[in-house]
């Protein structure tokens, strides 16, 4: 009982972190009809800066890391990406008034990873003083790509079965499209530069000091965007809202469980377990939608983008991150 109470106290203190305050503030001022506009170009630049910082940090630490430690978490990341889509395929996509291909696309987007949610978790963890393997953000593509491939393949199998067409699904274009996405490109470039060059000066002098400030701008934009996209969500079945509310936490907790197994087997750090849960609970907001749009053109983007941006991402950030950190503090005693 006492442990539970302590967990809730810690959970509530997380709500005072500036990351969440900016997100909730964004939702609030958008609901009040604000005329504040953060230009699109700045939003895109902020996303680049954050993922480049996370990538550089990851790349520099992979240099010293034991790569064998990465194997099990990477395998779990792939597994989680696939399982999330299967869960969505056999729950959301079967519900009445949900078109099957829309349901599968939504599951794919929730299986894919959000760079901004990842960055938000890193800032919260660093301010809490929770250490993690700095290569953990490199697990991003291991979950993101399998989830998108799985969703597109499942949707096309379903459509082929329904319409009797025999168009073959090609996997490589989906992988290529994901890798070319703006978030993943920046992250992977950062990792490569961190790994093969000596970017310490530019990292310490430029990317790292700006990280927290830029994240607050991004959170504000995402909050405002979440409110705007509610309109998209209103046009589709209410089941999407229910799914978007529950799925991020279910996915995060599954990942937390698998991360715990990795902790016992290979000493994956508690911070790493939290990050694995965060990336599993996040739903892609930047690179996922265009890949799905190209891969499942008949699916309605209002359904999947609406579910992910307006409810999924705020839940993953505002409830998911404090939940996994609180859980880690309770389970691992950090």
């Amino acid at each position: 009982m006492e442990a539970l109470l302590e967990f809730f106290t810690r959970f509530l203190t997380q709500f005072q972190s500036p990351t969440l305050a900016f997100l909730i503030g964004g939702i609030l001022i958008a609901a009040l009809g604000t005329k504040l506009e953060i230009p699109d170009a700045i939003y895109k630049f902020v996303v680049f800066m954050l993922l480049m910082r996370v990538g550089l940090d990851g790349g520099m630490s992979i240099r010293e890391a034991n790569l064998a430690d990465m194997l099990l978490p990477a395998f779990f990341a792939i597994l989680i990406g696939i399982v999330i889509v299967l869960i969505g395929r056999f729950t959301l996509a079967l519900l009445p008034s949900v078109r099957t291909e829309d349901g599968i696309a939504t599951a794919g987007l929730f299986g894919a990873v959000s760079g901004s949610t990842l960055a938000a978790a890193i800032v919260v963890m660093e301010s809490e003083g929770i250490s993690y393997e700095h290569w953990a953000p490199a697990l991003y593509p291991f979950m993101d790509i399998p989830a998108l491939v799985m969703a597109i393949v499942l949707a096309n199998l379903y459509l082929r079965h329904r319409d009797g067409t025999s168009e073959k699904v090609r996997i490589w274009p989906i992988v290529k499209e994901s890798l070319q996405g703006s978030a993943l490109s920046a992250l992977l470039l950062g990792i490569a530069i961190g790994l093969f060059t000596q970017p310490e000066k530019v990292f310490e002098g430029f990317y790292d000091p700006l990280f927290k400030g830029l994240l607050s701008v991004l959170m504000l934009v995402m909050g405002m965007e979440a409110y705007t996209r509610l309109n998209e969500l209103r046009r589709v079945a209410h089941w999407y809202a229910v799914y978007a509310l529950i799925a991020p936490l279910v996915h995060g907790l599954i990942a937390f469980g698998l991360g715990y197994i990795a902790h016992i087997l290979t000493g994956f750090s508690p911070g790493g377990v939290v990050l694995l849960a965060v990336i599993a609970g996040s739903s892609s907001d930047i690179s996922g939608p265009p890949t799905l749009r190209a891969g499942i053109p008949t699916a309605n983007p209002s359904a999947y983008v609406g579910a992910s941006t307006s409810i999924g991402t705020p839940v993953a950030i505002a409830i998911g991150i404090p939940l996994y950190i609180g859980l880690a503090q309770a389970v691992f005693g950090i």
Binding site: R229, D285, P289, A294, T298, V305
Partner: protein, 104 residues
């Protein structure tokens, strides 16, 4: 100097831009212009300028000027056939008079 020509205008989703430019480059048209576009259509409201998630809800307006109306109709047909079932889009033709037409 002035010359009669046809202008094809296509307003569609920004995510298609790369694929459509391939169709245009393979056609007999010598060039095209792309502009960011916003507004409201049958599918939903498209903003111009505000942050839009991954361009999923952004639009572009393409203008293609050719001396041959057949070329313009052919391009429009190709784009419509390939994308307009699943993506928002509209295409229309305009008779125009090109001044200083040495490039057409």
């Amino acid at each position: 100097m002035a010359q009669q020509a046809t202008k094809l205008v296509v307003i569609t989703e920004k995510v298609l831009l790369r694929d459509i430019s391939k169709i245009l480059e393979a056609s007999a048209a010598t060039g095209y212009t792309v502009m960011a576009a916003g507004g409201k259509g049958s599918r939903n409201t498209r903003s111009s300028g505000q942050p839009a998630v991954s361009d999923t809800f952004s639009n572009v307006k393409l203008e293609i000027i050719t001396a041959n109306e057949g070329v313009a109709r052919e391009i429009a047909a190709k784009i419509a056939e390939k994308y307009f079932d699943n993506f928002s889009g509209i295409a229309y033709l305009d008779e125009i008079e090109v001044l200083y037409a040495h490039k057409l």
